[in-house]
């Protein structure tokens, strides 16, 4: 099983290193044919306007939407969250709409407002996530069928999930935080070997056995 990382620009190598650190094969995705045989896709941080341009130029739109429609897990981080949102608040057209949320770009301000904090995200366990927000977007509207995975203390939503698609505002790949990638790997294992069942997948290599009980909550739907 291998997971693709959209490698047009931005922090893609960090995601690849993180996946490799938990024993998952990762491949760079630059052209449509690179998607052959991947069981999941990570869309990294970067500039969403640049990604929009570059994916359009090389015909990436349909193949990526098709992968999501087949049920492969998709993780969008920061700019990746903007890319997967069904609506962008400043009026731009959506890029790869696959999760029913409205996202606002640069929601915290400019680089001077970038920050780090501890964030509760029960779906990956009781230990808070160390979350790094860089010119980050937020979710302004959560559609029906979309689950909120994490919010800031003031209530602003920064992590969501709808079926196989997860979108987060922050950068686990910059903090060495592997739990979200482990969750994606579990989902990818389920996707690539249907019928094996999630109970088996949860205890496969690459998934920490010592994950707290909360780690399975998000998959109980």
């Amino acid at each position: 099983m291998k997971i693709g990382v959209l490698a047009l620009h931005g922090a893609f190598i960090e995601h690849i290193h993180l996946l490799e650190s938990i024993g998952i094969e990762a491949v760079k995705i630059r052209l449509p044919e690179d998607l052959d045989g991947v069981s999941g896709l990570i869309i990294p941080g970067g500039e969403s306007t640049t990604m929009r341009k570059l994916t359009a130029r090389w015909g990436m739109r349909e193949p990526i939407l098709g992968l999501a429609a087949k049920g492969a897990p998709i993780l969008g981080t920061c700019a990746g969250m903007i890319v997967v949102a069904s609506e962008i608040a400043d009026g731009d057209e959506p890029v790869f709409p696959m999760i029913d949320v409205t996202v606002r770009r640069n929601a915290f301000g400019r680089q001077l407002d970038s920050f780090e904090t501890e964030l509760s995200m029960p779906v990956v366990g009781d230990t808070p996530i160390h979350a790094i927000f860089i010119r980050a977007p937020i979710i302004e509207r959560v559609g029906p069928g979309v689950e909120t995975l994490a919010s800031l203390p003031d209530g602003r939503v920064v992590a969501v999930r709808q079926r196989n698609v997860i979108a987060i505002s922050f950068h686990p790949e910059l903090a060495g935080e592997t739990r979200i990638h482990r969750l994606i790997a579990t989902m990818a294992a389920d996707f690539s070997e249907p019928g094996e069942g999630t109970v088996v997948a949860r205890t496969e290599p690459g998934i920490r056995r010592d994950a707290s009980p909360g780690a399975s909550r998000g998959r109980s739907e």
Partner: protein, 295 residues
């Protein structure tokens, strides 16, 4: 649950988001929009591109606040601006204006011939130029959160950029091959702090993102820089001194992304019109060379 702004992780993290991309010099709102539309990951707001500074002479200073503000309002990608080497008052003003990165740049006329800006004192991150590893690590010790090799700005000649990225990468490889007990002397010879030298030895790379700048004029130049180890490129005069800036900008973006795919680079290099004419870096008289500024 407290939030902490302007941390080292957020400063160098923004540069990580720009990797694999192109940062373009722009002189007005229209050019900033062309750059964004072409797929630039960031723009550098300045009043004169290096080729003009070179041609016109005079003292080159930071851009006017009104210009920087206009460009910040015109685009959604990060906006950078340059301050003179050592001119921390210009840097304070740029921070106040809300730029996303400050380039303490040898392209502008240096304000201090001994000291660079103490970048630890700022909340905004800095990018600085270097010609070799020692210079890069001195800047990082001052809290530069991103490095670019200098090249020779405003020439459209890639030769100095190649020299600098080759030197930097070779020195990194050399450190990696050393015994740990040799690193103390290496630090002395590089003129760089031991801790950073040790970190480069252990990691086999700089602790921050490194781009190539100074002389990129056509897509092939960007591909060359990337293949030599750049993590992205700055293009100054090469875009808006070319015959067709919009197409040249887009082609350089594509070549930076697909730097190892000559088929694609050949395709995007067609029909761009004339590149900037440029001047051979070797013909630039010693006092007019920009790369030697910085200490």
């Amino acid at each position: 649950m407290t939030a902490e702004t302007s941390t080292w992780a957020t400063k160098k993290g923004l540069a990580q988001m720009l990797k694999g991309g192109v940062i373009m010099d722009v002189m007005n709102v229209e050019q900033a929009r062309i750059a964004e539309e072409a797929g630039a990951t960031s723009v550098m707001a300045l009043e004169r591109v290096p080729a003009m500074i070179r041609a016109e002479g005079g003292v080159a200073r930071m851009a006017k606040p009104s210009l920087i503000k206009q460009i910040i309002q015109a685009v959604s990608i990060p906006v950078m601006a340059k301050c003179r080497i050592g001119h921390f008052a210009e840097a304070q003003i740029l921070q106040e204006l809300g730029v996303d990165y400050i380039d303490e740049s040898e392209v502008l006329t240096p304000a201090d011939e001994a000291h660079h800006v103490d970048k630890h004192a700022f909340k905004v991150p800095f990018v600085c130029g270097c010609r070799d590893l020692g210079e890069a690590l001195r800047r990082i010790s001052e809290c530069a959160a991103m490095i670019r090799t200098k090249g020779e700005a405003g020439t459209g000649d890639i030769v100095e950029a190649v020299r600098h990225i080759r030197t930097l990468m070779a020195e990194i490889r050399r450190l990696g091959a050393m015994r740990e007990d040799e690193l103390f002397v290496a630090a002395k010879e590089l003129g760089a702090p031991y801790d950073l030298v040790k970190q480069v030895h252990d990691d086999g790379r700089l602790p921050v993102v490194n781009f190539v700048a100074g002389g990129i004029a056509i897509p092939a130049d960007a591909a060359l820089a990337m293949q030599l180890g750049a993590e992205g490129v700055f293009v100054g005069s090469g875009i808006f001194k070319s015959e067709n800036p919009a197409r040249t900008a887009e082609a350089i973006v594509q070549a930076t992304l697909h730097y190892d795919n000559p088929k694609i680079i050949a395709e995007v290099s067609k029909g761009l019109g004339a590149p900037m004419r440029g001047i051979a870096a070797a013909s630039v008289p010693e006092p007019e060379r920009l790369a030697v500024r910085g200490w």
